[in-house]
């Protein structure tokens, strides 16, 4: 090869090597949820009547007030997984894997699967969402795009679910957006739920996971059995105005009952003025530690 050709190819090679990568982050890995926020609500479970900080409307309040936990014993619900918006908060380990296009070598999808749940595909390949007639699922249908190093998702076709595991429902008319952020070994996801049926404002939460190289997520076969003998077609419910448990949370934790009823007002700093001077109570089962 002549000197001139070598110089030319060197210049070309230098240019190609130095082309910057598209802003992307690898979210794949084994992620362990960290319950450093709302530990009691997310792990053992929320108390009945705890709607603190939720921008719910009267319809949502009524739906939650009349919810009976015994509903979960029905065969139709025993094996129901948390839906895409709630599962980030639940006590389940997460595995994220990725699909890579063999030709372009681009990541075309992430797959998020939690313990006790279904595979949830997050498509980055520009495909459209299904038509309105398509079935709805627990995971919904998700497409995503990059905003710098943040992955922003749009989720449609979500089955009805819940925003908290004490009966605060989330309707199938809701939309969900997420923002996935990774800093080192920490994954932070913001979920924004907008529900015209049950919320007066978007409900925003941020949840953290830590990379766990040794995590193994086992299968979780769920078998539907007859848990409770009850009359055919019985659906457990509490009649409106007849829930005897709604004051328990407020009494146990020393929270003013009015605050436990939730509503957008309880989300904003101004509400602190109503809480000034209030020191909570600590039930025996609530402790502190790792």
């Amino acid at each position: 090869m002549t000197r001139s050709k070598r110089a030319g190819f060197a210049a070309l090679g230098l240019a190609l090597i130095a082309v910057p990568a598209i802003a992307q982050v690898d979210f794949s890995g084994e992620w362990a949820p960290r319950f450093y926020e709302d530990q009691m609500e997310r792990v053992p479970g929320p108390e009945l009547g705890d709607y603190l900080g939720m921008p719910i409307n009267p319809a949502a309040r009524m739906r939650a007030d009349t919810w009976s936990a015994s509903m979960m014993t029905l065969p139709e619900w025993q094996c129901r997984p948390h839906s895409a918006d709630y599962i980030w908060r639940g006590p389940s380990n997460l595995r994220i894997s990725k699909e890579v296009d063999p030709v372009t070598r681009e990541v075309t999808a992430f797959h998020a699967e939690w313990l006790r749940s279904v595979d949830r595909a997050i498509y980055l390949d520009g495909r459209p969402h299904p038509p309105a007639e398509a079935p709805y699922t627990w995971a919904g249908f998700t497409t995503a795009k990059w905003d710098g190093d943040v992955l922003t998702t749009t989720v449609t076709h979500l089955k009805e679910g819940y925003m908290r595991r004490n009966g605060v429902a989330r309707s199938e008319k809701a939309t969900l957006a997420e923002h996935w952020i990774r800093h080192g070994n920490w994954l932070t996801v913001m979920t924004v739920v907008t529900d015209p049926v049950y919320l007066t404002e978007p409900f925003v939460r941020t949840t953290d996971y830590e990379l766990d190289l040794h995590q193994q997520i086992p299968p979780y076969p769920c078998e539907v059995v007859r848990e409770i003998e009850r009359g055919k077609g019985t659906v457990p419910t509490i009649l409106p105005g007849k829930n005897p448990f709604l004051n328990e949370f407020a009494d146990r934790y020393g929270v003013p009952f009015e605050a436990t009823r939730g509503g957008a007002e309880t989300m904003y700093p101004e509400y602190r003025k109503k809480m000034k001077g209030v020191i909570g109570k600590r039930p025996p089962q609530v402790g502190g530690g790792a």
Partner: protein, 333 residues
């Protein structure tokens, strides 16, 4: 003939896989065809949902939509049949598809039987020998005998061509032979939406067409005048849950085509069953406490579900639903 059928399937995450196929036709703004599974499709926009089995044996329709949509439905069904026969490829040299051979009515309402006459006449029954009647003219129409009785009792009676050619009065009937590779069963659901409700189960495709027993997106219509009842309707919803088998984690598996609205599965029916049962129980409790109908309406016992199912105008309002449940629970016998 201008083809106006848009035929589209889209991939969905999880255990449910949908192939992506779309090819250009001139779309009708009102009618849409959505593939459910294997040979089963749903055509929407002609009134109630029309479930179709389309394949080498011909076409079986569950319901026929509104009368004034019949021409469009016929065109859409024929286009679908041709698309299926040619696999969507133009220039394919295949035999013309077999026509509409069977119509099954889920119940007597005009948005489900309105197209009976035209659709049946556009079809054909293959028979011969000494079989009576002009069975080589038009498709057979199956329904529960209460549908025939109701159509005959209309003032004026429904046209002869629209009336069922075959009825049943037992708990169920099966088509006497496979159709497009699978067994087809018809289940009678007494005193539900009406007194002549049938659900049609495509056993191989695992698809259940329910008629207006199940209508996600609105409160169930209990047609008291036609023998419907809230308890019978709840019983029917529970029966759907007995038939349906989810694939994994309570989703997918048996697909349920409702009378109106999107394709669903057993979890969607379970939510609907829960809502209907809970509201029934609330109204029953209110009746026991001696509340009048007006007081029950004022008590807003459905408020937590109104945002999903309720309406203040249109063909079925929340008040009408409450009234129907009240009357169903208080009527003698």
């Amino acid at each position: 003939m201008k083809k106006f059928l848009m035929f589209t399937t889209v991939a969905v995450a999880g255990a449910i896989g949908w192939a992506t196929l779309s090819f250009a036709q001139t779309p009708t703004p009102q009618l849409k065809v959505f593939p459910v599974r294997r040979n089963v499709y749903v055509l929407s926009g002609a009134g109630g949902n029309i479930t179709l089995s389309v394949g080498p044996d011909g076409i079986l329709m569950v319901d026929t939509g509104l009368a004034n949509m019949s021409d469009k439905v016929i065109a859409a069904v024929n286009d679908l049949a041709e698309t299926v026969a040619t696999k969507g490829l133009s220039g394919e040299n295949v035999a013309p598809p077999h026509p509409i051979r069977f119509i099954i009515n889920t119940h007597v309402h005009p948005d489900h039987i309105g197209g009976n006459a035209k659709l049946a006449l556009s079809g054909k029954t293959f028979t011969g020998g000494n079989v009576s009647r002009n069975l080589n003219e038009g498709a057979q129409i199956y329904a529960h005998e209460n549908v025939l009785n109701a159509m005959a009792a209309m003032k004026p009676p429904a046209p002869f061509e629209a009336q069922p050619t075959d009825t049943y009065h037992t708990e169920y009937m099966n088509l006497s032979h496979f159709f497009n590779g699978e067994g087809v069963q018809i289940f009678f659901m007494p005193a539900a939406h009406t007194d002549g409700d049938s659900m049609v189960f495509f056993r191989g495709s695992d698809v259940l067409a329910t008629g207006d027993i199940f209508t996600p997106g609105r409160y169930p219509i209990v047609d008291l005048a036609h023998g419907g009842s809230i308890n019978g309707l709840i019983e029917a919803l529970n029966r759907i849950l007995e038939i349906a088998v989810p694939e994994f984690r309570l989703e997918g598996g048996t697909y349920i085509v409702p009378g109106h609205g999107r394709v669903t599965d057993s979890a969607d029916v379970a939510y609907y069953r829960d809502m209907t049962t809970i509201i029934r129980d609330r109204i029953q409790d209110a009746i026991k406490r001696g509340l009048t109908l007006d007081q029950i309406k004022a008590a807003k016992l459905t408020m937590d579900y109104d945002g999903i199912y309720g309406a203040t105008s249109g063909i079925w309002t929340t008040d009408q639903f409450i009234e129907a449940v009240y009357k169903s629970l208080t009527q003698k016998n």
